[in-house]
């Protein structure tokens, strides 16, 4: 379960550049539920994800993961409860380390790291098995540096990394946005498989309205730091991409009018 209650995030408080990124957002995602989040640039999607991951500490409100209040806990402190895949394949994994070293790093997420060798024979074989499941042939390149891999391969490995330790919350930050269409589809299929197999509570931020409706159980639209749409079940099934685009237009129209007023 993930819950944010009355979250308010203000950047640059007290300066001329003060910006309210989130205004009183509340959202509860039940155990094992898969929620997709859409919204235009500056709508607050990334901020919401940052609040859940711990990168952004909210100005007001409360964040709960599982049964634990994590509102004031920074990223590293709550990493044991939250797995994450970033938009930029270079951010989510360590280019200077090998594939197996990246996996070893993720396998100890949220646990104490001791002086035992990071890559014993038993761990190596587990990692090899998990990477072989991807069918990308990477199991024969376990000692290759991560930065020798393509963006899609890195995201695939990142997804495996996200499932190596026991957390059951998965945060996806436009994780297919930097990939070509074919690879994006492969990563989405893989995501779907992992989420349903492991019954992960998932929040996926996406730019693709197609993805937002095709995957998951529930879609949330953010605009101007507020939730403006929250659909699930049958009403979501009848919703088309065109409907969503229509809503986007309407939102943007409003801001355009505001701008026009300012200029006028």
């Amino acid at each position: 379960m993930i819950a944010v209650e009355d979250i308010k995030v203000v950047f640059g408080r007290g300066t001329p550049l003060e910006k309210q990124a989130l205004k009183r957002v509340s959202l509860t995602i039940e155990q094992g539920s898969f929620v997709t989040v859409i919204g235009s640039n500056g709508a607050g999607k990334s901020t919401l994800l940052g609040v859940l991951a711990g990168d952004v500490l909210p100005t007001e409100g409360k964040v709960t993961i599982g049964t634990r209040d994590v509102t004031r806990l920074a990223t590293a402190g709550r990493a044991g409860m939250v797995a994450r895949v970033f938009q930029d394949p270079l951010t989510g994994s360590c280019g200077a380390l090998s594939i197996e070293e990246n996996l070893a790093l993720a396998a100890r997420r949220g646990e104490k790291r001791g002086l035992a060798s990071a890559l014993g024979p038993s761990r190596r074989s587990v990692f090899r098995e998990r990477i072989a499941e991807l069918n990308l042939g990477l199991e024969n390149r376990m000692k290759d540096r991560m930065d020798l891999l393509s963006g899609g391969q890195r995201q695939a490995v990142s997804l495996v990394m996200a499932t190596l330790s026991g957390s059951d919350v998965l945060l996806l930050d436009e994780h297919t946005a930097a990939l070509d269409p074919g690879m994006a589809e492969f990563i989405m299929k893989l995501t779907q498989k992992i989420v349903s197999e492991r019954k992960l509570t998932t929040l996926m931020v996406t730019h693709s309205m197609r993805q937002a409706l095709d995957y998951g159980h529930r879609t949330v639209m953010l605009h101007g730091g507020e939730i403006v749409l929250d659909v699930t079940g049958d009403s979501r099934k009848t919703l088309s991409v065109e409907d969503l685009i229509g809503m986007f237009r309407k939102m943007r129209g409003e801001t355009l009018d505001d701008d026009a007023l300012l200029i006028g």
């Binding site: 991951a53 920074a74 990223t75 590293a76 402190g77 990493a79 044991g80 994450r84 970033f86 270079l90 951010t91 989510g92 994994s93 360590c94 280019g95 200077a96 380390l97 070293e101 070893a104 790093l105 993720a106 100890r108 997420r109 949220g110 646990e111 790291r113 001791g114 002086l115 035992a116 060798s117 990071a118 890559l119």
Partner: protein, 298 residues
């Protein structure tokens, strides 16, 4: 061969010995620069700090091994000061290390109470090994070589452990490291402490083999350490942690031999005071070489 243009046996083993002492500096610099990506000039102060603490404690009658241990703790403390300035107070890493380095100059003078302390005829870590038939200029590099191998293995096993992996991730991609639950601030404290403890151990051994500690002996330590790291990388390439660490040690020894050769060749007309210039030229060449090679291949 002309007289004087050849390296004498004693000078050669002297160079190897100095190279092995500075191998500790190279390993420390590798941890800071390469693993943590932290350009750390603290070493210019922590090397003479290690020497000063050791010399003062040995003259006061303390066991030489204990003195070297305390020197390492002092070095670690210096590294932690730099880390605090950088992590807690957000001072740019390079500047933070310069501040500590400058402060250490005064600290070292306080520790010794004067600019230098002699250790002639004192019992050092090496004393028990002298007088068993092997000549002293062989015993010294042999003894230090064993210590270097122990340090190299320890650093290697650490960097390949779960804890070491967290440190490597901190230097390579801090954002990712945090998302994997790594406390990156703690890693910087730990890494800087380990790095400067190794450098201080180098200083402690330097004081014991050369028979004195001098407040100015730290000048250019960082350049020598960096030279060793870069020479090692140029020679052995990037092939994993163990090779890189061996490269540091090898680079440090080769650097000293190269310097010794340059200074003992009459033809070049160099003298001891040209050491810093020769060092700068050597490091520059080592930095440019890989670039030229890549340029040639393209």
């Amino acid at each position: 061969m002309k007289k004087g243009s050849r390296l004498s046996v004693i000078a050669f083993w002297g160079a190897v010995e100095l190279g092995l002492i500075y191998a500790f500096v190279a390993l420390g610099v590798f941890l800071a620069f390469r693993v943590l990506d932290f350009p750390d000039l603290t070493v210019d102060g922590s090397f003479p700090l290690g020497a000063a603490v050791t010399a003062v404690l040995i003259t006061a009658g303390l066991n030489a091994w204990a003195a070297a241990g305390i020197a390492m703790i002092a070095g670690a403390a210096a590294g932690i000061v730099t880390a605090i300035l950088n992590v807690r107070f957000r001072i740019l890493n390079l500047l933070a290390s310069i501040l500590t380095m400058i402060a250490l100059f005064s600290v070292n003078l306080r520790v010794m109470g004067k600019p230098n302390v002699a250790l002639i005829n004192a019992d050092t870590m090496l004393s028990p090994f002298f007088g068993h038939g092997l000549r002293e200029f062989y015993v010294r590099p042999l003894f230090i070589g064993v210590l270097v191998i122990i340090a190299l293995i320890a650093v290697w096993r650490f960097l390949e452990s779960d804890a070491g992996l967290a440190m490597r991730a901190t230097g390579a991609n801090a954002r990712m490291a945090r998302a994997q639950g790594v406390d990156t601030s703690f890693q910087i404290y730990l890494g800087m402490a380990l790095s400067n403890a190794l450098v201080a151990l180098g200083g402690a051994l330097f004081a014991q083999t050369s028979g004195f500690a001098d407040v100015t002996s730290g000048v250019g330590t960082i350049v020598v350490g960096l030279a060793a790291v870069i020479i090692g990388e140029t020679l052995l390439g990037a092939r994993g942690i163990l090779i890189a660490l061996i490269g540091c040690v090898l680079g440090s020894i080769l650097y000293r031999i190269a310097i010794q050769l340059a200074l003992s060749t009459d033809m070049l007309g160099l003298q001891a005071s040209d050491l810093n210039l020769v060092t700068a030229v050597l490091v520059t060449v080592a930095l440019i070489l890989p670039r030229l090679r890549r340029g040639g291949a393209a």
